[in-house]
């Protein structure tokens, strides 16, 4: 493990512990842990183990998946603006999950599976429209178009869905919160996220080689088509699972790789692991912020609002930065 990675892991560990202490009510966490370990049923034990722990783990897995996917897409597409939120992956996943959940086509693991399929189709569509290395603008425009289309379709479907609660949930799918999820949701999300992450890590060497250009990478023995297939499958698996449980949480996938790129010596392969740790930390910190606001401010906001408030200014900075040094 490199030094930056160790530091990030340590930070994540601290956030993890902190996260178990923050909720809408103060609870004696150690007592709750003891109750749980002794198998004594207690209300504080349930709050710790069935509310705070799954919420924390979901933030970690979702943040890590967003970070890895952002880093992999930015590396592969040679595009600093590539991220699951901007190239249609997240809205594709949300679309798939919405179709499955509200129209009763699937329950249980069917929901993340539908999310994966939606993510894969949307990403491929944007990729086919924009192509690789065609410049930042084309990709972003294609992403904007597909995102707009899918967002409209999600709203349409939720308006038509039989459940009376569906219409209110349009906003939930756009700016999702990770509150009120239990371990059942965590287990639904985990397999796809892990498998997707593994596929992406197998692209590490290829991503490093690709910084030297496609021709050089090919002479180094990188199979471009295989890399592309692995990468898209990985992103679809991870984002499909995560978004179908948490909704589209914006900007984590975009800003995490940028923040950490200097620490990875600008090698996209090395950036993957760092982005996983960083994304997890970022989303968990944002969610802790949400819970602190709820506890002391009495308002409950969606974690997507926090990440967007952090991410949007960063996005603007990125654009200005690229205007100054158009490289």
């Amino acid at each position: 493990m490199s030094r930056p990675a160790r530091l990030l892991a340590l930070l994540l560990g601290v956030l993890f512990v902190l996260s178990l202490f923050v909720g809408s009510n103060p609870i004696p966490v150690f007592q709750a842990l003891l109750d749980r370990l002794r198998d004594a049923p207690s209300a504080i034990g349930i709050v710790l183990a069935e509310v705070r722990l799954p919420r924390t783990l979901i933030a970690i897995v979702a943040g890590a998946a967003l970070g890895v996917c952002g880093a992999a897409l930015q590396g592969f597409l040679h595009n600093p603006l590539a991220s699951p939120g901007l190239i249609g992956t997240s809205s594709g996943a949300a679309f798939g999950a919405v179709v499955a959940l509200y129209f009763g086509f699937a329950g249980g693991y069917g929901i993340p599976l539908a999310g994966m399929l939606g993510a894969l189709l949307a990403t491929l569509l944007v990729y086919l429209i924009a192509g690789r290395d065609t410049g930042m603008l084309t990709l972003i425009l294609a992403g904007v178009a597909i995102n707009a289309l899918l967002t409209a379709l999600i709203s349409l479907l939720l308006s038509l869905a039989p459940s009376p609660y569906a219409v209110q949930e349009i906003v939930v799918w756009m700016l999702r919160s990770i509150s009120n999820h239990g371990f059942d949701d965590f287990w639904l999300m985990l397999p796809g996220a892990l498998l997707g992450g593994l596929l992406l890590f197998r692209c590490r060497r290829a991503l490093d080689a690709l910084t030297l250009g496609e021709d050089t990478a090919t002479t180094l023995g990188i199979d471009l088509r295989r890399t592309r297939a692995l990468l898209f499958a990985g992103v679809a698996l991870a984002m499909g699972s995560v978004v179908s449980i948490t909704g589209a949480i914006g900007f984590v996938g975009l800003i995490t790789p940028h923040l950490l790129r200097p620490l990875a010596a600008h090698r996209p392969g090395r950036l993957l692991a760092l982005s996983a740790l960083g994304g997890a930390g970022l989303l968990l910190a944002a969610d802790i912020g949400v819970r602190l606001l709820q506890r002391f401010g009495g308002v409950e906001i969606k974690v997507g609002i926090v990440t967007a408030l952090l991410g949007a200014p960063f996005f603007l900075w990125l654009i200005l930065h690229h205007r100054r040094s158009p490289a």
Binding site: G23, S24, N25, I27, P41, A43, I44, I46, V47, E50, V51, L101, Y102, F103, G104, G107, A161, P162, S163, P164, Y165, A166, Q168, E169, V172, S179, N180, H181, G182, F183, D184, Q294, E300
Partner: protein
Amino acid sequence: MRNPTLISIPLIPALLVAGLCQAAPQRVVSINLCSDQLLLLLGDPARIASVSHLARDPNASWVAEQARHFPVNRASLEEIIGLKPDLILTGAYTNALLRRALKALGYRVESIPLAKRIADIRRNIRRVAALLDRKARGEQLITHLDERLAQLREHRFARHPRALFYQPNGYTAGRDTLQDEALKLAGWENLPATLGIQGYAPIDMESLLLAKPEQFFTSPYAPGTQSLAQRRLRHPALRAATGGKPMRVMPYRYWLCGGPMIVEAIEQLQRAHP
């Protein structure tokens, strides 16, 4: 017994209006599920012009079967005008713009307030009965309701376990709700009321768990449909909180609206007592 003159004082304006109109309304239209049910229970079938489409939903309406004999409306202005009503019954939460538009057009619009306790149910029955010129039928309904309530009150419970009405998105019924009244009458302690929750409001998951609920009651509004809000009812922590005891389902038609059917709800709640 209460003083009958005192009870009749609030009825004076209604009587005056009825007097001015010379006769009982002949074409009554209701556009709210709660006023629909009172109209169907109290009204002369020949004079009911229309009820809302929700009145036919067997899940939400206690008189769904009767509602099938009457034309239904979806509370749109054009539709209501087409029905040529001489009395329009609405609920407390009926679209204010619609109500204003109807009044501006010269229709007689009567809004039936939300029932938050049994006394409100009696009051609403009397009010609608007076509007329809069916006071005798109203008193008959109230007498029957009070008899059933007296029977139910005979049950004594040694313990008042903590229970709550829990709905999708974490909504619950605190103080000043029909559910609060029904739970208490059935020998339960209404947990959200003890936490200071007023009316129908969301309860935070952690606060709920820490208050150690013993029994959840839920009323599916649209059984068979799916949403994130409804999924939240299946959160593993909720089941763990009651030691694996599942939520009990209370048909919504018994306590969504205030009416004589509240006794059915209370009876079921009593039977659920441990």
